[in-house]
Amino acid sequence: MTSYDSDKAAKIQAHLHSHLPSEPALRVKALESLLVERGLVASETLDAWVEAYSEEIGPRRGAQVVARAWVDAEFKARLLDNAAQAIVEFGFEGNATGDLKAVENTADAHNIVVCTLCSCYPFSLLGMSPPWYKSAAYRARVVREPRKVLAEFGVDLGDDIAVRVWDSTAEIRYLVVPQRPAGTEGWDEAALAAIVTRNSMIGTDRELVAGAE
């Protein structure tokens, strides 16, 4: 004769459920397996994509571009004229940077980038966008009250500094070229790139610091 142990049954059930991926993870797995089966994507391509964006492709790429613009006036002119073409010199082009525009911060102008529709971002140049860039709050507020949002990021702009907000789309994306900080005269590109922050290339950081990591 068998007996029913409800406690034991609940533990077995919990064990089974703990093994089951979350609902979205399960749906992504289902989608991926169908696409692979139908020859529309290759597992190896997806694995390589995830590995590249988890480890290799990140804001260090954009920082190298900014550093070169600081030391090479001719490159800077090319970057501001046609950024999509200029980053080909580094091999950083990708389908998300087909139309890239570089916008330069100056003593009296600050640039900040958003995608009000969704989360368009030059990710082959800057890697994955930070979580806040995708948030509804940032996407809505940065257009309405950019100075207030900037203040929350620790950037207090004087009234004498104009703010330009650039709205990214699937067709055009932006790279902010921050100002080179004082005290970096004579530095090489690698040393300069090391002080360029991701946020400064989105525009939520402004004053870079010589000597910062």
Partner: protein, 122 residues
């Protein structure tokens, strides 16, 4: 669906926080990998993807979803599913059926063993 405890809240970066992984969960990366690969191969248009993602984000926000990273990716997955269903690339019934097979496969497979689709098929 409740957000996992590790869900990252939105807000300016904490400069003192340790480096966070690029993706909070593996499926977040997989959604974007699939979408970007399909855009690159021309199966879906970049503009269509942006419009579908924007529409899903607005929809989720309108329904009161928390403004979190996980919910962003839930919207991204819904956008991808919608585009593939609308484009007759992967229909919703096909996807739901495959999801159920995988669910059965996971439940039928002992811990520590690779989960194969065949384990969930009748």
């Amino acid at each position: 669906m409740s957000a996992p405890e590790t869900d990252r809240r939105f807000g300016p970066d904490d400069r003192l926080a340790p480096d966070a992984p690029e993706f909070g969960e593996a499926w977040h990366a997989q959604v974007l990998a699939v979408a970007d690969t399909l855009i690159t191969s021309g199966q879906i248009g970049a503009g269509d993807w942006a419009a579908a993602l924007g529409a899903q984000l607005r929809l989720h926000q309108g329904e009161g979803a928390d403004d979190t990273e996980s919910n962003y990716y839930v919207a991204a997955l819904a956008a991808l599913e919608g585009l593939l269903d609308g484009g007759a690339i992967v229909s919703a019934p096909d996807l739901n059926s495959r999801r159920d097979i995988w669910a059965r496969a996971y439940v039928a497979t002992p811990h520590g063993h690779p989960v194969l689709l065949s384990a969930g098929q009748d």
